[in-house]
């Protein structure tokens, strides 16, 4: 249920406003579960096969093994380069479970062996019938619950929310996916970023000059951008948890977050349209608020609802703030949400209140220290 519907149905209370996202709840549960054991999940993300995820992951496994951690390999990709084989020879492997319909992870053998760290690769595989779980990520969860840290890797194609986009760009399809929330809940995520020409070269293509040289590299570049932004999103979520856990001030300015101040008299459609464009161009976040002052005309509600619906359609999170001091309410909300730019309509008609207290736009500019204010034509 969105804040808008809550507001519309009259179920909205101020005390209900800050709701933890499902990702955060999942993360909290996982963090609490694994805290007892110190088990951590680390995922290496790549935008396409050939970026070298497996190598990076196994190289980390080797280094941890050399530093004295108890590391085993529970599952690896079918096709392996010479370098990857070289790393595997230096690590202990637990043979997979053979069933009549294929190979699965031998979960019981790993649990009996009880290493500190287990390599499970790739993350988004499906288990053949006869295994305990249908999906490999469920195996990973069981290992974590038992205090075993997991190193794993995944390709963008196999993240459920990205599957269609990747398919639209490359034509590749898959039935094996993990939910994005799984990435957001992981303790660590690392992107393995290589230029498309190197990625293709590792898959056996001819090496081209530095930069995008052909349409195949151009397509991969699109996936690369998606993977970088996905990782940034995960890192941002981790940053927010860190800030919450340590009770420190929110971190401003890692990416653009726009806040539209909607009033019945402002040119809200223009602000919403610009907000949507800025959100897209900056790959940022968009918010819209309306400050409901006690005793204001009820007629305003219709216009506000229409603007909120438009803002939500443009990808904004909407909220109604109740306060008799709109400027403070907006600035406090902006600080809490780490807003980098506030959109506000220029006030053409000053009310007697404004004349008494000063133009609200100018008051906002003075109050919004550290945040840009963009004033829109009336």
């Amino acid at each position: 249920m969105t804040f808008y519907t809550l507001f519309r149905t009259g179920k909205m209370r101020l005390s209900e406003l800050p709701r933890p996202s499902p990702e955060r709840l999942l993360k909290q549960v996982q963090a609490e579960e694994s805290k007892r054991w110190g088990a951590k999940l680390k995922i290496f993300l790549g935008y396409a096969p050939g970026v070298g995820k497996s190598y990076r992951m196994l190289d980390e496994a080797r280094r941890r093994h050399e530093r004295g951690e108890d590391v085993v390999v529970g599952a690896v990709q079918g096709q392996q380069s010479e370098e990857v084989q070289g790393l595997l020879r230096q690590l202990e492997t637990i043979p997979p479970l053979q069933t009549s319909e294929g190979q699965g992870i031998d979960l019981d053998a790993i649990l009996r062996r009880a290493p500190q760290v287990c390599v499970i690769d790739p993350l988004a595989a499906q288990n053949p019938p006869g295994c305990r779980h249908a999906h490999r990520w469920q195996d990973v969860q069981e290992l974590l619950r038992n205090g075993i840290s997991v190193l794993s890797s995944v390709n963008l194609l196999h993240v459920a929310e990205y599957k269609d986009k990747v398919q639209a760009i490359t034509g590749k399809n898959t039935t094996e996916t993990i939910p994005k929330s799984f990435l957001l809940a992981a303790d660590d995520i690392v992107i393995v970023d290589v230029p498309p020409d190197l990625c293709l070269w590792r898959q056996g293509e001819k090496l081209t000059s530095t930069g995008i040289s052909n349409s195949q590299e151009r397509r991969l570049s699109e996936l690369r951008e998606l993977a970088l932004l996905l990782t940034a999103e995960v890192v941002d979520a981790q940053l927010e948890s860190y800030v919450h856990a340590h009770g420190i001030e929110p971190v401003f300015g890692t990416h653009e977050r726009f806040l539209i101040c909607i009033t019945p008299n402002s040119d809200a459609p223009a602000m919403i349209e610009s907000g949507a464009r800025n959100k897209e161009r900056f790959q940022g976040d968009l918010f819209a608020v309306y400050v409901c002052e006690p005793g204001r005309s009820k007629r305003e509600g219709v216009a506000i609802r229409r603007y909120f619906a438009a803002a939500e359609k443009a990808g904004a999170s909407t909220e109604v703030l109740e306060s008799d001091d709109p400027i403070s309410a907006i600035v406090n909300f902006a600080r809490e949400k780490r807003i980098t730019q506030i959109f506000i309509g220029n006030s053409a008609h000053n009310t007697w209140r404004d004349r008494l207290l000063g133009d609200p736009v100018l008051r906002l500019i003075r109050a919004a220290e550290g945040i840009d204010v963009r004033v829109f034509p009336h």
Binding site: V192, D193, R219, L229, A232, L239
Partner: protein
């Protein structure tokens, strides 16, 4: 050895990281080995002599052009020997730490200037840098970390690069490296843990690096599409709720004054213009009929700001006008500007005397335009 017309310029590849120790140099050297194994003529043109042991090992397997040793204030410093690299003329030269400032007495002040010389001579250059050295991010870095970075590389230099590679590692792994003494000497570790490596800084810088890399990748896609007429489903189209882009091109006008806040205004304007693919112009309005009639200090500050804007490829204009706010707004209207960027400097003597702020005049006058009041990001809230 100036580049001649028939020598194509060398291409530039930048390994971008978020802190010392993320593995930029190591990654660059590994890629160089791959190239060398395939018979490409790669040399190490500059390499930090105090590097980590495993990085040293990687470098030793490649040809190294001897550094130039420069005595300065009783100490010996090492710099890249640009002329020696030009004489050696490899296909690819590896130059560590693009943002480095050369020792006084060097031919060029900045290492990125040396890199320009190599590129002009047709040599491909691979280099490393951290996100906090990007000029237009300076204020954001200050806001996030409370640290003002002095050594910056102009965005135009990074824009030249044919390729940007993000070198990623988790902050935990980086902190482990730091504590093991693999990044800095022991006496430096404590300082680092109280600076860039403190608390949420690493996560924030990491996010900034990933977003910057994504933006750089996006810019290169647009450039490719424009020259090749290429069409792929762009992220924007594949994303739900995205808006079709049929808007007229945005035009940003940056209002230049002598106030020190102008520098961050220029950086912010440049950055927003880059993302919105907007045109960007900077305007200075003076009330005296001739520029030399300004007070010397004011004139110097304004000229510095105008030069800075030009160095970031922003067109600059100077106009005379008794009413500055009115002149700015009229110029904006005549030139179909969509957004005016202004700072909100602390009220000066004149503003206090008049009882109103000059920036407020612009907001009041420009009822038909968007006005963006850019915040002073160096003023952080208490931690």
């Amino acid at each position: 050895m100036p580049g001649s017309a028939d020598t194509p310029r060398g291409s530039l590849k930048v390994y971008l990281g978020y802190a010392a120790g993320v593995g930029k140099t190591f990654q660059m050297l590994s890629d160089a080995h791959v190239a060398a194994e395939r018979g490409i003529d790669v040399v190490v043109a500059y390499f930090e002599p105090h590097a980590r042991p495993d990085t040293m090992g990687q470098a030793q397997r490649l040809e190294l052009v001897p550094h130039r040793k420069i005595a300065y204030r009783g100490k010996t410093f090492q710099e890249m020997d640009t002329e020696a690299v030009l004489r050696r003329k490899p296909a690819i030269a590896l130059v560590d730490e693009l943002a480095h400032t050369n020792i006084p007495g060097s031919t060029r002040a900045k290492r990125w200037e040396d890199v320009q010389v190599l590129l002009d001579a047709g040599i491909e250059v691979w280099t490393t840098m951290n996100v906090q050295h990007i000029e237009s991010l300076n204020d954001q870095i200050w806001q996030i970390t409370g640290i003002q970075v002095r050594e910056t590389v102009p965005d135009g230099i990074i824009r030249q690069a044919a390729e940007i590679v993000a070198v990623d590692v988790t902050p935990d792994a980086l902190l482990n490296r730091l504590k093991r003494g693999a990044v800095y000497k022991p006496e430096m570790v404590e300082k680092a843990l109280n600076g860039f490596f403190k608390g949420s800084n690493l996560g924030a810088l990491r996010e900034l690096t990933l977003r910057q890399a994504a933006h750089e990748v996006d810019l290169r896609q647009s450039a490719y599409d424009e020259t090749r007429g290429f069409q792929v489903p762009r992220i924007s189209e594949a994303r739900p709720g995205a808006v079709p882009d049929n808007q007229p091109k945005e035009r940003i006008l940056i209002h230049i004054t002598a106030d020190p806040s102008t520098a961050m205004l220029i950086r912010r304007g440049r950055r927003v213009a880059d993302y919105l693919r907007a045109d960007c112009t900077a305007l200075f309005v003076h009330q005296t009929p001739e520029l030399p009639q300004l007070r010397a200090a004011e004139r110097e500050a304004v000229e510095k700001h105008l030069r800075f804007a030009r160095s970031l490829q922003i067109e600059t204009r100077i106009l005379v006008g008794i009413d500055i706010a009115k002149t700015v707004v009229e110029f904006a209207r005549q030139n179909r500007v969509t957004q005016i960027f202004v700072a909100y400097p602390h009220p000066g003597f004149l503003e206090r005397l008049r009882g109103k702020h000059f920036t407020e005049d612009i907001v009041r006058l420009a009822q038909d335009l968007q006005v963006t009041i850019v915040a002073d990001r160096s003023r952080r809230q208490a931690p």
